[in-house]
Structures are given as C-alpha cells and as structure tokens.
Point group: D3
Chain length 286, copies 6
C-alpha cells in the first residue's frame, strides 16, 4: 500500500482543512507569526506505532521539520517520544489535533491488530488475522494501512479488488452455485473469488464451482472445524483458503484460529477502535 507523496498529501490536506475551517483563530491571536518552536509527539500509553509515515508527510507538507524516532510497526512504551518537530509555532499548533488524531487512531488499530496476531502466534495457530471493510466512513486507506502495519491482512481494499460474493448477492443470484459460476465465467483472471457460505453443505458446492476463498459466516468453532475436516476428507483442503468470520472477538479468536482455517476476520479491529493516547508538547521556544 505504498502511496506517493502528492496523493497522500492531498488526503491529509482535506482532513486538515475540515478542522481549520476559516482559520485557527486562537493561534492567530495568541502566537506571533514568526515564533519558532520545537515540539515532541509523545506516547502516553504502550502500544504499536502507526501513522508515523503519514505524520511525517503531513508535517513536511507544511514546511515543518520532522525527525522520526520510531518506525511504523514498532512497539512503543509509555512516555516514548515518537516524533521531534521544529518550525513555525502557528503551523504546529494548527496541525496539532489533526496530527494526533491520525497517529492515535492508526496506532490504536495497529496495537489491537498486533495483540491479536501475537495471541495467535503464542497459541500456535497459523491463521492470519484480517480486518474487514467495517472502517470509519471514508477512512479505508488509513484504517487498512494501520492493520497492515500491525501485521494483519488488509483483505479487500475496496469494492474492485476481489470478487466477494455475500449473502445478499446470493439472494439475488439464487444459490451459491449459480453465483460462483457466474463470477468464475466472467471475472477477470486477475481477481480471486471469495464466497460467503452459511451452511456446511455449501462449502463443497463453493469449492466445486471454483471459489478461491470460502468465508464461513457465523459458523461456531465446532462447525468451522467440521468444515475444515470435511474438505480434508474430500482432499480439497489445499484448493481453497478458508476464512472464519462473524462473531469473532479478541476473546474467542484463538478458538476459531485453532480450527485450521487460514484467515480469521474481525470487524471490531477497525470498528471498535481504541485510539492510543498520544500528545504533542512544546519543548523549546526559539
């Protein structure tokens, strides 16, 4: 998910512009135009850093100097300094909240993702943690990027990058079989096809119709394990990836992962976010 600087800058500019409105009236009144300062972005709780690259681009686009002290994906501890900033005081104070909102949301998501990933690693499960498209509205890029930084699978980036046939598509198509076949015939060879199934019977249908990934939607751990075993019995396990989805939380994620699926996906990674506590402090007036 490498984003060239000009494209990222424009996304960041739009976010900043909303917060600025007609101008930062407080800063304009209190802070002299030429004042320069040094400031630090400090973490107030432990977690995983994310949004640091984005922060750097945002700061530099405003002609501020940004020294990065931690890389995206690194574990950070309480009171650790993440970024040193120097430059125009008005600019720093005007961008402060936008900067912190970005870093704190992205770091929060990365932290959650990393915690889940490590939990699975400790349990010995090989399944990968994935997020869904249940992000904050309009924040697909930032939320997915944070998941990636945290070590999770970004899953679909938007509606054009994989065929994912869900319950409502099947309702219109008539059956899992019809839906998958229709997709298989016409889809670009560059795309994988995933289908959501709600019954164990449909797993075989989906594999035979040509699905690349099968999402076991709202299966209990027991049902999930049964589906895995069933495919192994048919010697079809290697032909598809299996994704457990629905009702999975930090509490039960290991149980699902231990069933032998390839992917365990949780909407709550991006939907139930706890922002990491990050703050900006002026450390020196020049």
């Amino acid at each position: 998910m490498f984003m060239p600087r000009t494209v990222l800058e424009e996304k960041l500019r739009e976010i900043l512009a909303e917060d600025i409105g007609q101008g930062d009236i407080t800063t304009g009144l209190i802070v002299p135009a030429q004042t320069a300062v040094e400031a630090i972005v400090v973490c107030k709780e432990a977690g995983v850093a994310a949004g640091i690259e984005e922060a750097k681009v945002l700061l530099e686009s405003l002609d501020l100097k940004a020294e990065i002290l931690v890389k995206d994906g690194e574990r950070i501890r309480t009171q650790q300094i993440l970024i040193k900033i120097s430059g125009n005081a008005r600019t720093i104070l005007s961008v402060e909240r936008t900067l912190l909102n970005l870093v704190s949301r992205m770091s929060g998501i990365a932290t959650t993702t990393r915690n889940l990933t490590e939990k699975l690693r400790r349990s010995g499960a090989k399944a990968r943690i994935a997020c869904t498209r249940k992000t904050a509205p309009g924040l697909l890029y930032f939320d997915k990027k944070a998941v990636q930084v945290g070590g999770g699978d970004t899953h679909r980036l938007h509606l054009d990058d994989m065929i994912l046939i869900k319950d409502n598509h099947i309702a219109v198509a008539g059956s899992v079989e019809k839906a998958v076949k229709k997709a298989k015939e016409q889809a670009s060879l560059s795309k994988k096809i995933e289908v959501e199934v709600t019954k164990t019977e449909d797993v075989l249908t989906a594999v035979e119709a040509g699905a690349d990934i099968i999402m076991l939607d709202n299966f209990s751990p027991k049902q999930t394990a049964k589906a895995v075993a069933f495919l192994k019995g048919k010697k079809l396990r290697e032909k598809v990836l299996l994704e457990a989805s629905g009702g999975i939380t930090a509490e039960n994620v290991e149980v699902f992962a231990s069933t032998g699926v390839d992917i365990v996906s949780l909407g709550e990674i991006t939907n139930n976010t706890k922002a990491l506590d990050v703050s900006l402090e002026i450390v020196k007036l020049k």
Copy 2:
C-alpha cells in the same frame, strides 16, 4: 448543525467513491442491471439511532427510495427495522457497506453519549456531557453530529468557532493572564474565550482576565470541587462556565459532574468508539 442537501451529498459521495474504487466488480458480475429489490436496515443490538438523516440523503442521491422508520435520537431495540429501502439492486449492494459504516459509527457515538447523559441525569448532576475534537480524522462533522443527536454538547466544531487557549498556547504566550488578555483585546465579539488551566491559582487569573469558560485540565474531582468552591467564595461562579476535562471516563463521570462544573468533556466518546451492530438484508426480489 443543519447541512443543506447538496453539501451533505458531496461529503457522502466522497466516502462512497473511496469504497467503490473502479467499480463494484462483484455486483456488476452477479446482479443483473435491471433487478429491483426491497431491503431493510436492521439493528442487531439496542442503542440510540443516529446517521438516519444522512442515510436517507445518501440513498435518495442514488435514486433509491428510503422509508425512515426511526428518527435520529430515538432509542432502538435489537432487531428493530430502521430504514426500508427499495430500488435498483446493484445500487443498493454497492452502497451497503458505506451506508452501514455511517449508521453504525454515528449510532455507536450517539449511544455512548446518551448513556453518559442519562447517567448524569440519574445522579442529579446538572453538568452537560461534551465531546472534544478527538474524532476520527476527517470525520468532525459526522462525529459531532452524532454527539448532538445523543444529547451531548458538540463543543468546538473546528478551529474557528471559539477561542480555546490550551497549554501550548500558554507556553508561547508566557502565562494564562497574558494569553487571555491578548485574546480578550482582539478577538471578535462573536466568540467566547475558553482557557485551559492546570493549577487552581490560575482559575482566578483566568476569570479576571475575561475568560468565558475555564477548562480545569486533569484536575482530580477534589481539586475540581475546590475550584468551584473558591469561585463561589469570590462571588465569581456566575461569571464563567467551568469545564472538567482530562482523565474522565464513563466510570468516573458522575464524580466529576457532581463537583458543580457546567461541562464534563470526554475524548473517548469519539475516540474510543464502539460501532452499533447494524445490517442490511434483502427482503424481496421484484
């Protein structure tokens, strides 16, 4: 926070466009162009509805018919139908996730806000619950609107609508007194002036310098109560509004509110969001 339709439609279009990318390839392959359906948006857990007006505008902008069954701000129960939608199936399926992300985040924020508000009402405290600018990046409008729907105070909408002198401004200005005086002299008469203080001594300074609102930042409940008493003793309590801020959570909010402050503000309302579980189901193929 009334937003005329064309302005809101544009915000919603940008959110939708990010998710669509180069097009919904699944829907384009599986769902015939002319298929019409009826669908419902259903709540999977109890809470407070928000984002319903925004959902209606989004759906109607896409030539879908949207029948609203619940108003923004109403309590909703599990399995309650919020919206009935009818129209082109491809369009409905393409907008599904964007629509749900909007309603679920906004309803989640409104639910949290309402719960806090009712907790205070039950405790007999008169303080108002307020949010901060710690929102998801770029979602100031939607997050603040959800807080309002939930009965909370939206506080600053962006950087241009109130003078709020924070720690970093004071660091540059030299002192609370200097900062407030500078603001008082030059600020537009249309704006209130709020100042963040970290010591009880500064409360009096701030009032005398002309602040309209004083934010007691990271005061303990005891310190907060002392500050209130101090101003009462000086017969200055009526001259300002007092806001408790920093370290306040759902657990301790009543304690802070009972100190006699006017506003209790929590970043976590918008920063630590739990999206309400909402889904879209096709109920009829035409």
Copy 3:
C-alpha cells in the same frame, strides 16, 4: 484566522486555475521558457495593505521568490513598493492578474475598515466596527481576513460559529422570546447567542431570555440611544453586547457609534468594495 500553508495554497490554486483556463496563450507565445525577471508590486494610491501574506504564499507555491516590503495592516502611500518578486517570467506574467486582484480587493477592504475604525477613534466612541456575511460569493475567508487586517471585527465566519437568530428565524419560531429560549436550552456552551430585534420592547425580552448579543436592526440613532439607556436603567447593560446594524454607512457611522453600543456593523465594507489600485511592473530582465 491563521490558515496553514497547504490549505491556503489550495484556495489560491483554485482561483488561479479559473483564470488560466487551458493555459496562458499569450505568455506561452511571447515569453521564452527560461527567461527570468524581477518585478515589483506597486501601490498606485494610498491605503492599508492586505493580502500580502496570501500573495507571498501564492508566489512561493509557484517557486517564485517574494520579498515582502510591507506588512499586512500597514498604511501604504502612493508608489510604494509592496513586494519584490523574482523568478521565471512566464510564471510571473501568468499569475499577475490573480495576484493583483487578491491584493487590490483585500487592501481595498482593509482600507475602508481602517478609515471607519479611525473615524470612530477620533470621535471618541468605543464601539467596534464589524463586517457582516455580505461578502463576494465564495470569498468569506479573504474578505473577513481583510476586515481583520484593517482592524475590524470579523463577526460570524460562517453559519456554524455563533447562534444568530434573525428576523426569518423569529418568524418561524413565533417570537423573540421563544427563539432565544429554544437556542439557550440546546445550544453548545461554546457558542454565543445573538438575536436581531426590531422593536425596543424586544430588547428586554431578549436579555431576559439569555441572549449574549442583541442586534438592534434598523433602529434610528435615537432609538438606539434609547435602547442603551433603557438597559442601563434596568442595570442590564453589562449583561449583553449591543450591535447597531442596518442603514449604517461611512457618513453616519459616528452617530450610531456615539449611542453607546458595542458594535456597529456595515454590510458595505465587503459589499460595496473599492479595490485599491495596485500594479505589477517588470523592473529587470535577467
């Protein structure tokens, strides 16, 4: 009203882009690509400089060097050089008109504002000069900024930064009292409430209902003075700010100001603008 550079650059780019269309065909034909020049922006009549900061950002965004010789808000005399520019000749000639339109409109507004402000100062009145939202369409930021530079009060920056209850709101609400009470109950604590009254009787109603500012709309100077006296008599004068508005011009502004109101607002500052005559001259070919 401090505006971070990237946000301001985008506003300026849009203005420039309209004037450029598909390209400056004259410059492209006449001026060689590599020609560098020095140019000056000169004032052709006396006034108050404004738009200089914006000009600098515009020029620098185009990789031109801009040396600012006068600060926003300074008095300037005929033939005074405001800015020295050096760089690519094509770029300078292409941006010339956009640059001059910006500086001349903003300086014109600042000059008018300053003249009014000084007139009041000389008369001994303490009232502040304010503008309204009667700006050129889409130029709220630049027009308000120019008023601020000229020493005037910017009043509302847009529709979200103060509750201002006008005649048409009162027509819908039923009465001044109902409208103000409704606002007082529900408005964010961060916002002031202003109400427009057309009868002296309503002044008291408005104060008692909790308005922070009362706009005396189309009151004659005599009626204005009477309203001030009335509130003093009731010992309520200190509780509100009073704004005289409607029918006020450069001719009668002192009369209104001398009645003892706090604010005198004139639509004509931004609505009846006389642009200051400013021109760009090439002084050196390199």
Copy 4:
C-alpha cells in the same frame, strides 16, 4: 456563456459549502426539520436584475421550488419581487445569504454596466462598454456573466481565449513589433491578437505587424482621438478594432467613447462594485 446545469451547480455548491461550514447551527436549533415556508426575494433599490438564472439553479439543486418573476437583464424597481421560493424552511434559511450575495453582486455589476451602456447610447457614441479581468478573485464567471447581462462586452474570459500582449510582455519581447510578429506567426488561427500600446507611434507598428485589436493604454481623450484620426488618414481604421483603456470612469466614459474607438473598457465595473440591495422575506408558514 451558457453553463450546463451540473457545472454551474458545482460552482454554487462550493460557494454554499464555505458559508455553511459544519452546519447552520441557528437554523438547526430554531427551525423544526419539516417546516415548509414560502419566501420572496425582493429588491430594495432600482437596478438591473442579474444572477436570477444562477439563483434558480441554486434553489432547485436544493429541492426548493423557485418561481422566477423577472428575467436576467430586466430593469427592476424598488420593492419588486424577483423570485418566489417555496419549500423546506431550514434549507431556505441556510441558503439565504449565499443566494442574496450572488444576486446582489451580479445585479450590482449588471446595473453599473447598463447605466454606462445607456449613457453611451444617449450620447450617440457607438463604442461598446467592456469589462476587464479585474474581478473579485475566483469570480471571473459570475462577474463576466453579470457584465454580459448588463449589455457589456465580456472581453477575455480567461488567459486562453485571446492573445493580449500587455506592457510586461512587450518589456520581455523587446518591442511592440517583435511581440506582435511573434504572436502572429505562431498563434492559433482561432484567436484574435490584441496589443497594448502606450505611444501613438506604436499604433501603426501594431497594425502593420498584424494586430486585430489595439488597446490605447492610458491615452488621454485627445490622444485617443488623434490615434483614430491617424489610422483613418492611413486608411487603416477598418483593419483593426481600437480599445480605450486606463483611467476611464463613469464620469469621463462619454468623452472617451466619442473619440471614435470601438471599445471603452473599465476595470471599475467589476472592481469597484456596489451590490444591489436585495433581501429574502418569509411570507407564509405552511
């Protein structure tokens, strides 16, 4: 200058969005969501109507009904009703100021233009009144459209629609002759070539080099008449259009026009605008 609806709507939406900010907080608090009203746009002083088509598009884009009672370009008298509006009260109140700013600026420009045009007609001069690119920043379209509605010549719409060689281009090119010849050789056959001259001698040079229009810049009326006579003497008068420009005002416009030039251009039409006084009144609550 016909502008298709979607393109115009987008320009208008951007203007409205700036004024709305995060929402019209007054209207949201005071006016119930479903209230419908009828309102009128009334003229408070006599003039020429302009911006009426733009107003209709703006209102209809917001799902309001707009009955147009006067056409762009018609003379209007004090208290005349220009537009009847009906629909949602919140929407009408939120768009009120944007609507009025548009109609009042455009009508003000059209009125000035018409007055100048009629003055020339009465004097018997055949010269046409033209505006320049000295408009409010970013308002080229609206300002030029208003001039056209008022009966004036729009001159260049932006930098790509005619070759106009000005003083600074000549400074770079070396001479009027060199500049015009360079343009004549390479310019698209679809474009006219105009050149600004500051000395009578250059008039002949310009004609012989192939200019289509000659701008007599800052010529006195006497010099202007002399240049006209000179070309007549050379039998070259019919080969070019002559434009008088610089230092022309409403006071001396007839003198310049009577010299026999084809075009008299005034920056002040768009640069020194007096907005026509227009207001919106609610006439019926439904």
Copy 5:
C-alpha cells in the same frame, strides 16, 4: 465494474467542465434559452456499442431525456441510431462533443476488443484477450469498462488490486525467486500474485515460489509454446495461469493464443485507439 450513479456523474461532470470552460459562448448567443429539440446519436460506421450507459447518466444528470436504443456490447451497423435525446437545446449542444468523445472512444475500444476476441474464438483458441494499464492518462475507468463491454479481460484496474511483479521490481529485489517469495509471505490472501519473466528458466522458479499468474514477457510464439509444454511436463500447468505479453498485435494474436496460454494481453487495445465515428443530429425543433 458497477459504478453508482453519483460517483459516475462526478467523473462525467469533470470531463464536461473542462470542455465548457467559462461557458459555451456560441450556444449562448445563437440558441434561445427555452428552445427544446429532439436529437439522435447515430453511428457512422459499424462496430460494437460502448459508453451508452455512461452517456445515459451524463444526459440525465443534465435533465435531458435519453432513450437508449442499443445496449453496451451490441454490434451496431452504419447509420444505426444509438440514443434518442430530447430536452433543452442549449444543454444538448453544450454537451454534444463530450458525449460523442465518450461514446466514440469507448465504442472504438470495445470494437477492437470484440474483433480480437472473435478472431480467437474462430481460431479455436481458448485464451482470453486482456488489456493493460496503457490507457489514456486518467481514463483507466472508461478504457477498462470499454474493454469489458467488448468481452476482454480488464486485468489490473489500478495498482492496488493484484500483485504484479515487473522487471523493475525484480531488478530491485534481486531475482524472480526473491521477489515472489517476499510477496507470497506478506501479501493479503485476497490478492493474486503475478510475475513477469523474461527467460524460460524463470517460469519454474516462479511457479515454485508461489506465483498465481506468470507473464511471459516478450517471448516469441515458439518460446511461449515451449514454456507451456515445459510446465505440462512438470505437471504444473494447472497450478498457474500463463499470460503472453509484449509484441502482440492484431496480426499475430492467434499465433500467441494457439500456444496454450490462458491470457493474451495487448497494450494497443487502449493505447492505439481508433474512435468509432459517431455523431449527434438534431431531428426536430419543438
């Protein structure tokens, strides 16, 4: 590639806006504002229709009535009427060129694609025709959509929807093996991995490293056939898709297809476009 109406309308509005500039001055002068007409879009040469859905959305967004007489993907003959339009004459004339440019480019691409596809079908080859990202700048959506309408494979829609490791990536990574392994380890499970190889030896390496698709770049037909045979011999043919790419044209496409590859991709489909001749004729004045 289903695109919801509002998202598509915005893309089309931007294209129209570029052509309109400050307004259609010819139409504004010649055509009365209220004139209504009926017009037809006629094909002047045989081909395959594409862009018809986009044309309908464009016309309807301008309040024109559009009756579609041919569906996207249908073969059309000379003089066939594609669309009947009725509505405002100014609007129709202003959008004419934008509309025709869209339909003629997209139909040209669809025609080329269909011709290639049918050529392969006739030859008995099962390979699919695919386009590349060599489109007109900024027209990825429209060009890819036209390829799909013509029966071709859209391949990557942009840089985020499949891992495609090209020569320059391999140059940086060090080898085909290293590059594919790196991708395989970290890529989202939702994405296929394609790798470009330039030597037969690398085919096996790529398969073993886990590539899903192998692009045989600039292989001769003989080399291509050899690579296919080699994989068959290793019983690995079913494990990957093979794409022939580079140097393929309408002339030699069957030779490449007959080698047994799955995909034959040609940049010239979108890069060497012959627009279909389409025109708009007014057939009735109302």
Copy 6:
C-alpha cells in the same frame, strides 16, 4: 498554453491518484522504503517528443530528480534516452505507468501532427494543420498541448474561446445568415466567429454576414478549390480564413491543402492516436 506549475501539478496528481487507488501494493511489498535508484525513460521507436515538460513537473512534484535530455518538439530516434530520473525507488515505480502513458500519448499525437505538417511543407502548401475537439474525454489540455508541440494549430481550446457555429446551431437558428448575424451583433469583440457551411452558396452569405473563418464541411477537394476561387473572384478571399474539415486523412491531406485553404483540420490527430512506445528502465541501484 503556458500552465503554471501548481495548476499542472493538480491535473497530474488526479491522473496519478486514479492509478494508485489505495496504494501500490506490489511496490510496497517488494521494494524497501529507502531504496534509491536511477532510471531512464527511453524511446523504443522514432518520433517527436512531447509531454516532457509535463513529465518533469510530475516527477519533481514527487521529490524525484529529473534531468531532461530532449526538448518538447524535438525529433527523437529509437533507443534515445529522453529523461534521467533519480530518487526513491518506490516512488519511481509507482509513477512509472502514469508517466509513460502521458509521454507516449502526447508524443504519439505530436509525431502524427509533425508528420502531417512536414508532408504539407514538402508539398509546398501553406495551409496549417489543425486538430479538433475530438480528443480523449477530459484530455483537452494534454491533447491540444501535444498538437501545439507537434507544430499544429490547437483550434478551439474549449467552448468559450471562439464562436464556432456548427450544423446544429444553424438548424436551430434557421440559416447560416441568421446565425452569423446574431453572433456578430452580440459576440464579444475579443472573439472570432467561425461558421460551418455545407454548400458553396453559403460561403458568400457567411462572409457577408461577417464571419472571420469559414469551415467548408465535408467539401470534396474540387468543391473546396471552387469555393476558394469563388471568393477570389469576388475579391473577398483576404477577408476570411478558410478551413477544410471532414473526411480528411493523412492520405488526402495534401490534396485538400493544395486547394488554397488556410487550415486543414483532422479529428484523427487526437481521436485515432497511436501512442509512441516509451519505457522506463532502472539503470542503477544505489
């Protein structure tokens, strides 16, 4: 057609953003963040360079160093290096396709234009080659710029820069005479008037009505020559420019040009484009 850097950068950013989508996932996985490389843009076939200036602006906007080795408009030979690039490898690989699409389309158009122009020069005809508005949708600027670079006439840049009365305008106006007269009376003096005629009789009508340019639409070479002779006979040839248009191709362009017209216009220059083969190669890893 000089385009200031910020305006051009924004056009280029939008094109790049479409191709990037949610990020270049291949480059993000394979190429380390800090890797720097040197790369070259090489031409794989002979032609005329165009888009080089645009390429430089695109590359520099991404903080890449771009050394230009050939100027727009120069003849280039196979294997010639056009640009040397150095900088961040991820950025270079992400922009590669956008860059090449731009240079190859523009160079293709310039090459075609130059070939046509030289063909006419060799034949001794003085007519100028012009393009039309039949460009790729949304690419008016880039396509017209390429034509200019190739030595052709850009004709109208969009709908606002010349009055061009076409068949459909005449159908509405009633006759060539009525249409031209209407335009002549009201058009801005800054604009030329061109009219399309389909019959020799209308040529005289058009000249007498005041047209500046007459487009002989779909005239055979013989009819074209006759029209030229007719005007000469009437001593009106010098009063207008004549443009041959319709049915003109690379094959017959000399025949049309030899008839004595001033302009020969071909839609196929921009509508039937053959992109020049250009590629990017990494030459050095740092």
